[in-house]
Symmetry: C2
Subunit: 481 residues, 2 copies
Amino acid sequence: MGRRKDIAIELGAEDGRPVFLALAASITSEIERGRLKPGDPLPGTRALARSLKLNRNTVDAAYHELTMQGWLAAEPSRGTFVAHDLPDFGPAQTRRGIASKASPAAATARRPMLRLSDGAPDARLLPAAEFARAFRNALAGPSFLTACAHGDPRGSPMLREALAAHLKEERGLTAAPDDILVARGSQMALFLAASAVLSSGQAIAVETPGYPLAWAAFRAAGARVVGVPVDGGGLDIDALQRLAEREKGLKAVYLTPHHQYPTTVTLGAARRLRLLDLARRFGLAIIEDDYDHEYRFDGRPVLPMAARAAADHRIVYVGSLSKLLAPGIRVGYAVAERGLLQRMADRREAIDRQGDLPLENAIAGLILDGTLRRHGRKARRVYQARRDHLAGLLNERFGDVASFALPAGGLAIWLQLDGGVSAETWAARAEGLGLAILPGIRFALDATRPPEAFRLGFASLSEAEHVRAVDLMARAGPAQE
Amino acid sequence: MGRRKDIAIELGAEDGRPVFLALAASITSEIERGRLKPGDPLPGTRALARSLKLNRNTVDAAYHELTMQGWLAAEPSRGTFVAHDLPDFGPAQTRRGIASKASPAAATARRPMLRLSDGAPDARLLPAAEFARAFRNALAGPSFLTACAHGDPRGSPMLREALAAHLKEERGLTAAPDDILVARGSQMALFLAASAVLSSGQAIAVETPGYPLAWAAFRAAGARVVGVPVDGGGLDIDALQRLAEREKGLKAVYLTPHHQYPTTVTLGAARRLRLLDLARRFGLAIIEDDYDHEYRFDGRPVLPMAARAAADHRIVYVGSLSKLLAPGIRVGYAVAERGLLQRMADRREAIDRQGDLPLENAIAGLILDGTLRRHGRKARRVYQARRDHLAGLLNERFGDVASFALPAGGLAIWLQLDGGVSAETWAARAEGLGLAILPGIRFALDATRPPEAFRLGFASLSEAEHVRAVDLMARAGPAQE
């Protein structure tokens, strides 16, 4: 905590805005200039009001506004402080800060937007020192030089070997290194899988609500995307069967059975067996997306369908390491039988040649030396607490207009709104207050009947940030209409 | 240099092979087990012959064979040593080494292949310490956390800004950061460019001989690939015009005007102007691949066509940083007008979502702090010396059966064989001796009339390795038939 400083907080030039907003802009400008740093205490409201000749309520309003926006943090009985989790404003930002001082309006416009992601991990938890060290080792080692000479479009042999052991141990998947293709995040794996199992114009069944970036990948591969509804038990297998019976071009089905995206439901054993049976009868390939397998809080993770399927099933199992590390670190993979995998590798070479070897070998190092497993355990503990915390807040504040089932795993809560409440309207009002939340329409294949719900990622924000987010949601919500 | 050790070199079990090969296999096995390390001296041939009760010529032959293969290095008047540039054989290799000791044949089969690449840089020159430091900074900085929240499919804003300044300064290209898309190596940029300028079934004209991975990218984007011949002046513009007149589906042309791949020729000003004129008349988009712009040894680099084109030309300019760093570090980029670039970004999001932010920001750091420019200057000096050295060797050894024009830039020599000499046969024989070289047929769109030539990358090997490579070429060559 910084010691108390004498900061010259002034009001910007009059511009017709309420005085409390002008004061707020002056404070953010001080933060951007670096004169107020994370953890610094703000003057008491009474003292500041006196020195600026303002009503104390005006100062209160400015502090409250900035607390809501995430610039400040109020600590009961201790006072108000510059928030700890602000980015460090380096020299470049300082210059912008000075420039913007003349325009307090601009400073307020750049307030940090608080975002409830769709289920991203918290990049602040990344074991950055270990990762940087592993990267340095990967650049220095002879494996880098050797690998540089002939890059394999299936990815670094070292990482495929590490993944094979990891998948066997953690997920009951017996895959040899040659059954694995390392791709750039699961996104590329989905594109390659669709390219390998579908010809142009053939159809793939997908969950709706579902994962729109997967649909984009399938369409980029030339496929038609056809929706199958999801209910409280996951993918509606009866509906899939009716679709398979009437749609002759249907050649594949894509699903997220572990934690359905976006509704978080786990597909039960009975539906899994029926799906495998249907796939065999209608000759459907299965693309199983197990994007956040390791985040299971209640009970044990459910084994992938790919771990139980028979040899005559054509399954591409897709996983991601980005959920364990950070969204900006893009490593995913696919497991499939060799013929399929070879087609994927050929396509991968055509669009991307090969992966980044130092990065892939660094991640292999983190798997082999146990860093990734230790990090996963820690992250699971942190995220479980965040899940429970956000769940508590949602129950407390929105119990009368919304409901949800506590997700057994995954990094998001699917909050369903009661009849008559529009998630889209609510989200738009929240955006105006500085909070980004994702309404159900973002996940609907058919936008005419969007689910009235929010997917609220809880992992990437701290508990204090959850409090702010839920406050902003409440201010934007139907009770305020 | 290691001190002289007493190494137990033994002959493996008799297997009908010449004794000198059995002895060679025994030595490589000792190296793989880690008992002989890089730099270690071998026993003198006389002493070893005596202790093994062999003819000294047999020991000589084994040492010579291993020197040719790159396991050993002979130093005049000092003796023979284990080569310094071997990969370090870790524990895994040691185990394999022990297993293979029972089978000397297997050990010889795993001899390191000497490869003349198609023009790869030398990963051993990579400023690894600076790169590792930049990566660590990128992981630690607030820009990583900020960027992780909302990745842009056009790539890290920091890297696009650094590239914009770099391209303006070095290549006369005035591109704003928003005109640039950072992709995974030039491979992805080529795929995205073709996806953006062509509809399925439309045709793109390409150079032949040319770059097969570009053709694969265009085909993956649904395009038909049509060849246009290359002569001593580069792309044959008359042939392109005839093609454009008869082929109505032709919508784009792909070329490598700076250092034509594989023939290394620079397209002259007159042909460039005619090409721009043709493109306008026939409505062709131009994909200009400037894959190794910075490696110009004689005179100044020729400015890209994209730097001179008029506003109504549709040009996608493609570059790569992999040639400056290492083939296993995959960062390329495309420059195009915003509408085109947006289509590329949409497709990129569908197949790959976004890039690796720590990697992209690390590279931005290396551009901004001058490391990349310093490295480029150093690499240019080293590669120019290697070009001249290989050129001297080729003239000396193959002046009677082959010829080449010294390339003004780029990282390869195009060695054209005299009539009656088959490059493919020669390459196959070289492969049998442990040398990989790329015959002209690898670059021909129409394999029925392959160019009788080799593309010999000179940058990735040291001068000592060039000597070995040319020796192996000579042993495999037509004079030996």
